[in-house]
Every structure is written in C-alpha cells, then in structure tokens.
C-alpha cells in the first residue's frame, strides 16, 4: 500500500530548510538576536535565582550540625529570636543526640569610620559546630587577639569602610576589632554579615547569659535523623526543631517567596522565554509565508504535513542552536561583570542544560505556530500561474 515509507528528516529537507533560512537575510539576524537575547535572559535570571537561593541559606548550609533548634515560628536563619540555653542540655537527654552546641545570630548597629551607622547580622557559632564558617578565634590569634574580634566578607569591605586588620570599630555598645576579610559569605540582604567568636557575639548582642539564638545538634552515628528530630519535637514543644536541610529550605523559601524576589527573578526568566518565542515565531512565520509556493509544491509532489512541519522545525532549531549558543556564551562573562554589584550571582553548569531545554521547547512551539500557513496551503495553487 502507499505511504508506508516515510522519514520526517532527511538531508535534502535539511538543506532546503537551512538554505532558505540563509536566504532570508535580515530576518535571520533578527531571529538569531532574539533567541540569543532570550537565552541570555533566561540563563542570567536563572543564575540570579540560583545564586539568591544559595545565598539565602549559605550560613545554615555552612554550619556543622544535623539538627537545629530555633525559636517557635522562626521564618529564617537571620530572624531567629533568643531561646533559653537549657535547650542544649535538654537535647542531650534525647536518645541519638551526640553533641549539642550554641549559636548566636542577631542584628547590631556598627559604626563606620566616617561616623555613620549601619546594621549588621552578627553570627557567632561555637567552634566545633562552625563547619565552613570563618574560624574567628584563629583569625584573631593571628592578629594577637583573644577577644572582640570581627571578620567580614571581602565584598562588604567597602560598605563597612574596612581599611585593614586590627582597626577598632564600635558594634552595639562594645568595641570590636576587624581582624580579617573572608570570602564566600557575601550578604544578599543589604546588611553585611559580621562573624565573631560565640562568646563575643553573645556580648555584642547584649543577650542575657542564659539565652542563645539557636542550638546546634549532632546526631550519633546509627541513628535515624528524622526519628531523632521527631523525638526532639515531641519533647521540646515550645521551640522549632529542623534538620539542617529543612532550615536551609525554609530560609530560601522565606527570602524567595516572602520578599517577592523569587517571583521577580522567575518572571524575568519567563519574560525571556516569551520574548524569544514571539521573535522566533514572527521571524520563522514570515520566512515560511515567503516560501509558501515552495511548500505548496512540496505538498503537491507528495509531502505530508509532517514533512512541511519538519522543514519549519529544522529552521527553528537551527536558529535555536546558533542564537542559543551565542546567548549561552554570554552568561558567564556578563555574570562576572556584574558580580562586584551582585555578589551572590552563581552560574551553575546545569543552567546551560535547563536553558537548552527551554530553547528547544521554544523552537518546537515556535515552529508549530509558524508552520501553520505552510500546513494550511492548498497544493492546488501550484497549478495557478
């Protein structure tokens, strides 16, 4: 029977599609530019979103703890409210808890050398739980200090008018001393993080001696983390108990959802997709419309709608590959360019795959729309002179 031998893609269809594309002149460049811009926008906004997400939980992710106890209803790590220190001791009574430590997080005004004040988030975690956080005790020792030391991230140096180690600064009602710049803890919330030894942080914030901001716990090997968490929750009902990843996720959600930052960044990425879609549809549609007699001829000599769609799809994908590659190449250099201002931007490798998939979807959608005139054309028109 007829019609049982059919391939959607073939060399000649590819040649026809690409050559017609190349013959389309300025419209090809418009299409490539549109896709490059859309790709770049999606990738850049995705990188902003990813970097923001990482930054929102960077401190929680850095500490060396399996479980954390914070005040009831704490929305994010930066907004913990003081809790009694005895929760650390009480936790040790729960089966499976191997170690308990204390942490301080809170806001304090700091006076810059020019006399102006700015609020900083003071972070002080007991040394054995600090994980990847700066070891301020050691940094202070290198500067010949045992107390009142402060470390700041290098990206906040200008905000704090940091002019070198051992400079005295008023923080809260105390005198502190900058001892070091550290890297990797840039703030995304507008106020710098300032790292201190646990005891010093406690003093900077003027907390009562029996209060801490959070309790950090380590689960003994062989115990189920979630089971221990649930046991703690059952025993300590007036505080929140989270695993490290839960608190990290909670912090991310808070900053992404509550502040609208996530929606804004996502919306920009979606806009990038839509802009790309409109540009590609418009361009490929007009190229298709220009070649309508060729499509009619193809159909007259037996091309199926699938063949016609394949040619349009090839054109769309060629635009996608060329324009998309240009857009992808731009993401990292541009991210590096804006990093001094947007310190937390991170371009993960997977963003290339994600944006690539998005561009492939965009091209497929564009070709479906743009192929319409070619699919609908009456092959009988080829008989008309």
């Amino acid at each position: 029977m007829w019609g049982d031998r059919h391939r959607w893609f073939g060399r000649m269809k590819f040649a026809l599609a690409v050559r017609n594309l190349l013959r389309s002149g300025a419209r090809l460049w418009v299409s490539l530019f549109g896709i490059a811009f859309a790709t770049f926008l999606m990738g850049f906004q995705g990188s902003l979103l990813y970097g923001f997400t990482l930054a929102a939980s960077r401190i929680v992710d850095a500490v060396d703890a399996d479980l954390l106890i914070v005040g009831k209803g704490t929305p994010t790590f930066e907004y913990v409210s003081p809790i009694p220190e005895r929760y650390a001791t009480l936790s040790l009574g729960v089966d499976g808890i191997a170690d308990a430590g204390r942490g301080i997080v809170g806001w304090a005004p700091i006076q810059r050398p020019n006399g102006e004040h700015t609020n900083v988030a003071v972070v002080g975690i007991e040394r054995r739980f600090r994980g990847r956080l700066p070891d301020v005790f050691d940094l202070a020792a290198e500067e010949g200090r045992s107390h009142w030391a402060l470390a700041i991230d290098a990206t906040d140096a200008s905000v704090l008018q940091y002019a070198g180690a051992s400079r005295a600064v008023q923080i809260g009602s105390h005198r502190g001393h900058y001892v070091a710049e550290v890297h990797g803890f840039s703030s995304f919330i507008g106020s710098p993080y300032v790292f201190a030894d646990y005891v010093d942080a406690h003093n900077y914030l003027n907390l009562e001696s029996t209060q801490v901001s959070l309790v950090l716990l380590r689960v003994a090997p062989g115990h189920d983390l979630l089971a221990v968490r649930d046991a703690l929750r059952a025993r300590l009902s007036d505080v929140d108990v989270w695993t490290q990843s839960e608190l990290a996720w909670k912090s991310r959600l808070f900053w992404l959802v509550q502040t609208g930052a996530g929606a804004a960044l996502s919306l920009a990425a979606i806009l990038g997709f839509l802009i790309g879609l409109v540009v590609v549809v418009q361009t490929i549609y007009s190229i298709t419309a220009d070649s309508i007699d060729e499509y009619a001829t193809m159909k007259a000599i037996g091309a199926t709608n699938g063949d016609v769609r394949a040619v349009v799809l090839i054109q769309s994908f060629v635009c996608g590959v060329v324009g998309g590659s240009a857009g992808l190449v731009l993401i990292r250099p541009f991210a590096a360019l804006v990093r001094p201002a947007v310190t937390w931007i991170t371009v993960p490798s997977f963003i290339y795959g994600l944006v690539g998939v998005a561009i492939a979807l965009l091209c497929a959608a564009a070709s479906l729309i743009a192929a319409h005139p070619a699919v609908a054309v009456d092959p009988g028109r080829v008989f008309r002179a």
Binding site: R11, M12, K13, D293, G302, V382, A385
Partner: protein, 231 residues
Amino acid sequence: MPNVEMRDVTLSFGTGPARAFALNGINLALCGGVFTVVSGPSGSGKTSLLSVLGAMLAPDSGAVEVNGTDIAAFRSAHRSAFRRDMIGYVFQLFRLMPALNAEENIRLALELRGQHSDRRRARDALELVGLADKAHLRPQEMSGGEQQRVAIARAIAHRPLILLADEPTASLDSANGLNVTKLLADLAADTQRIVVAVTHDPRVLPHAGRIISLADGRVATDQLCSARSQS
C-alpha cells in the same frame, strides 16, 4: 500497463445558486503509452480534471479507478500518499526549489516520497532529460527549458504510474517548448506511463497521441491521432 478510468465524475465549487460545475459527468479511460493532451478554453475544467486525476482534489461524485482502485473514495491522507507514490507532476512555472540545485531538487522529491535519495538516481533522471551535465546548477542559473526538463526529471525520478503536466510549455519559447513536448511524448512511448498534459499551446497538439477537448466541464471531443497513439 497502467490504466485509469473516470466514470461520471463531477466536481463543483460554491454552494446554492453560486455553485459552478468544474467537471460535469466526465467519462474517460486513459492507458499507458499514449501522450494525452487535454485542451479547451479557460474555465473548461482542464486544471480541475488534472487535480482530480492527480488525487489533488476528491470529486463530488463518480469514480476514478487507477488499476482498479477507486481513488475518489480515498481520505485526504490516503490521497496524499497515493499522490506521493503514483503521480508525477510538471507545472507551468516549473516550481523548482531555488535554494537547491537540479540534482538536489530531484533528491528532495525522492526523499519526500520515502525513496532512496541517492545521487545516482537523481543523475539517472537528469540523464533521461539530457541534463546530466547541469546537475550542479541552481534553477536560476538555467534557461526556462532546462528548468522544465529538471521538473520533468523530478516528476519521473520515482517512476510514477501517471505523469501529469499543467501547461508545460506555456512559459517556454518555441524551441524549448518543442523539446519539452517531445520529451513528454517520448516518455509516454518509452516508459508506457500515462502521460497527460493540459495545454492551450497549439504547438503541442501535433505530438499528441490523443487529444481530449473540454468545454463547460464536459468532454467535447476525444480523438486518437497520429502514429504515437499506436506505439
């Protein structure tokens, strides 16, 4: 030898009082080996006849049997498949793809038909129309006559049962028109295919084996002529 039989075929456009019959009770039998020319004034139904014969349009009523199979009853997708495999078209304006060279135009047609689109087959078809040495040229680099011969090569490369030509000489000068006409007549005789050309061009008629004249969607005259009909 292939044969086509059209029985009481009608095709109309429009509805109600505006309905016009392009074909009005056509009865015809066509067989291979004869170069058949369909002529008649504008609006007589020549192109409609070609469209129905080539499975481009389905008639309102009647039967179009190709080797005993009624293609008038086919659904759209089936008609498309039939057209792809069994019909070769030659158009007045050649309708070659300007982005492809002569050989590639033929290979595209083969590819669309799901057949091997290798260069050899395309070259064979070009050889048949005497253009083997112009395989690398694009349509715009060839004369009208050469383009039409490439179009014929494209139409016959997949070895169709029926070759349909719509005003194949209308865009050509006398010499090229004559060449193309002879080529179509020779193809009918040499390959025993059904070759039907719709034309206004009186230069074509002396080469026809059969001349069917249409008027108002009906067959006005139908005459076998010349030695070609005997071949």
